[in-house]
């Protein structure tokens, strides 16, 4: 019994430790009237997402005149509703959120509208019954990214004079239902229809992760190793697919191996691109913070803002990428 009490005493400080830290971080609020923003991030499933979060946090910082409430929904719609309701109760000035699914947000957006809190949607688009339910959308033009990728692929295959032969394509899809997946898949599927020699031999979901894609690609390679192109929908998937292919003895490069197409252009992805293991990496810019900052500043001055704003994006391929480009990447 003495032992039990002794250990209890040892545990208690840990509990209070937590409380003390909670209290400590309260002290940091500034004297001026900051703009209060609630940001519901969908999760922290990839480096891209973390770079996105970091960019938001940096842009909506205290020095910039903001107070930010941040919530990570751990990939659940339920948690996002929870967080947004909480922001409404906290009486924030703006709500920013990156939706988990495209539809079903009407009632919560209505609640925000009643409380007169403008909502800004980032990253993934939503379909709402009434357009006035949200003020602005900031994100990537996923369809354009997909079109850029297939255009490059068409060009490179023409340059290599392979328009006559069968091009066997493995397609690793992202999390099904996300707008990035729908748009990037759409671009590829349309390209397959207009190029008679392109064959989609396998189409599997890699869930935007390296581990999952490694598993899925491993299974595909057991069925066939005759692959010309692997079209992955983000860098995580590309890295997983390359791991699996190299283990199975396939070479990944645009010259005499498998052409790997990827999206995102994270630092790691660009390093692979420099080595040629990823032939093409289309940028998907996560640095949306400054754009959000600009829109909020405009809105609070009472100015008009664009409803839909696409962030600037470029593409990197094995032939044009330089070491300097990689070093400039912060994520």
């Amino acid at each position: 019994m003495i032992a039990r009490r002794l250990v209890a005493v040892l545990f208690l400080p840990f509990l209070f430790c937590g409380c003390a830290q909670e209290a400590g971080s309260m002290a940091g609020t500034t004297g001026k009237d900051p703009i209060v923003v609630g940001f519901s991030q969908v999760g922290a499933e990839s480096e891209w997402r973390v770079a996105n979060t970091e960019s938001m946090k940096a842009a909506l910082s205290e020095e910039n005149g903001y107070e930010l409430f941040f919530d990570d929904a751990r990939n659940m719609q339920e948690n996002q509703i929870r967080a947004m309701r909480n922001f409404i109760q906290q009486d924030v000035d703006y709500i920013v959120f990156s939706p988990r699914v495209e539809t079903g947000w009407d009632s919560i957006l209505q609640e925000a509208k009643e409380a007169e809190i403008p909502v800004i949607v980032i990253d993934r688009g939503i379909v709402a019954a009434d357009d006035s339910l949200y003020r602005a959308y900031i994100g990537s033009d996923f369809r354009e990214e997909g079109e850029k990728a297939v255009k490059w692929l068409e060009d490179i295959l023409e340059k290599q004079e392979r328009t006559g032969e069968d091009i066997r394509i493995v397609h690793i899809q992202g999390t099904l239902g996300s707008s990035a997946q729908i748009s990037r898949t759409g671009a590829l599927e349309q390209a397959i229809q207009r190029n008679a020699n392109w064959r989609m031999i396998e189409q599997e979901c890699g869930d935007f992760t390296r581990a999952k894609t490694y598993e899925v690609m491993g299974a595909i390679l057991k069925r066939t190793k005759d692959i010309d192109v692997v079209y992955c929908e983000n860098d995580g998937e590309a890295l997983g697919a390359i791991d699996a292919m190299e283990e199975a003895g396939l070479k990944c490069n645009p010259e005499d191996g498998v052409i790997v197409v990827s999206f995102d252009a994270t630092k790691k992805g660009l390093e692979y691109c420099f080595e040629g293991r990823i032939a093409l990496n289309v940028e998907c810019n996560p640095l949306q913070g400054p754009y959000v900052d600009e829109i909020i500043k405009k809105l609070s001055r009472g100015e008009q803002v664009e409803r839909k704003k696409f962030v600037d994006e470029t593409l990197f391929d094995f032939y044009t990428i330089t070491k300097g480009m990689i070093e400039k990447r912060g994520y």
């Binding site: 032992a3 039990r4 499933e45 480096e47």
Partner: protein, 361 residues
């Protein structure tokens, strides 16, 4: 022969072995190529064994390691540790954190691993104290780290998917040049030998069982149940650290949300398939490890018949139910009775006949 059969049909290994056998037979009929193993050369020019069997052994490594720890915890504390996945994520994060702070050399890897082990053991001590000193049900006690662990892992690195790179990392996660067998398999073998040696030359196994069967009488016999439970939770901590480190090395990064996700469920399942009672007491490490391979073999088989990765769980559930129902006390008893009444005379007759034949020759 008849005796052997009788012993086997009562043995713990009956369930996992027959499940494995069934999978093998099914695959034999489906596609004999499933079993082919080839010696290929990978991109770095190293020889490597490839094939479904190798990928089953390789893929089940983390699970097998955790199943060992889970068996000990189950046996001693009559409950399960559901925080192993989270603790593995914490340990993996510590491992990555240390590696990223230093240049990756062999001593640094060893140091990082020891740091991961220390943190994981601390988690084990936390769980173990709640269970042994405060007499809290293991599942409830480990629920704390289950819900907080992955967030702690996130906290440690402060980023979603920090990466580690280098040939040494690949040696651990994939291959050591010159040895064509994937390293995780070797690690499992090493650990298995180590644990069975410890159990053979110490009384730990016996004590664990004694505590699991009857704590009071174990205490009266001079065994301190608190220590035994604490040790078993520390062991599972080390197992989680090893599994976490392998998981990190396999793909060169750690994703706190995804690494070894749901593995606690699979590990408990492996223990159950291995014929161990989840109510503690007598245990068989062999059974649990075999259970782990059964689970992985099932997954690989499902993949190879093109079941989408997301729906594998549903098919797995059906097989689990079939296995546990066959192993359930009621059915087992019914089967035993059936065997004693019908099969035994038949088998005896069969063996008598053969022995008659032998004798008459």
């Amino acid at each position: 022969m008849a005796k052997w059969w009788e012993k086997f049909s009562r043995s713990q290994l009956l369930v996992p072995l027959s499940a494995l056998l069934l999978l093998v037979v099914y695959n034999l009929f489906r596609d004999i190529g499933f079993f082919s193993i080839i010696l290929a050369t990978n991109n770095d020019g190293n020889a490597v064994l490839q094939g479904n069997l190798i990928s089953i052994l390789d893929g089940a490594s983390e699970l097998a390691i955790l199943a060992i720890g889970m068996t000990l915890v189950t046996a001693s504390s009559r409950g399960q540790d559901i925080s192993v996945g989270a603790v593995a994520a914490v340990a993996g994060s510590v491992f990555v954190r240390v590696l990223r702070a230093n240049e990756i050399t062999l001593p640094i890897i060893l140091f990082a691993f020891l740091a991961a082990c220390a943190v994981a053991m601390l988690c084990g001590v936390f769980n173990g104290t709640l269970v042994s000193v405060f007499k809290i049900q293991p599942m409830i006690a480990t629920l704390i780290l289950f819900s907080a662990g992955r967030s702690i892992a996130y906290w440690i690195n402060g980023g979603a998917t920090p990466t580690v790179d280098g040939p040494l990392i690949n040696y651990i996660g994939k291959l050591i040049p010159g040895i064509p067998i994937p390293s995780p398999i070797l690690i499992v073998i090493l650990l298995g030998v180590l644990v069975s040696l410890v159990l053979r030359f110490t009384n730990l196994g016996l004590y664990t069982q004694a505590v699991g069967i009857n704590e009071k009488s174990a205490h009266l016999n001079g065994i301190n149940p608190v220590w035994i439970k604490l040790i078993s939770f520390m062991v599972i901590g080390v197992c989680a650290a090893i599994a976490g480190a392998i998981g990190v090395c396999k793909i060169g990064l750690i994703n706190h949300e995804k690494i070894l996700l749901d593995i606690e469920m699979d590990a408990i399942l492996a223990v159950a398939i291995g014929g161990n009672a989840l109510g503690g007491g007598k245990f068989s490490l062999k059974g649990s490890v075999m259970g782990a391979y059964v689970i992985q073999a099932l997954t690989t088989t499902l993949y190879s018949i093109k079941v989408p990765s997301t729906s594998v769980k549903a098919y797995k559930a059906i097989v689990i139910i079939a296995i546990v129902v066959l192993g359930s006390p009621m059915i087992k008893e019914a089967l035993m009775q059936f065997r004693d009444k019908r099969m035994k005379p038949a088998i005896d007759k069969l063996f008598r006949k053969t022995s008659d034949v032998v004798e008459s020759q």
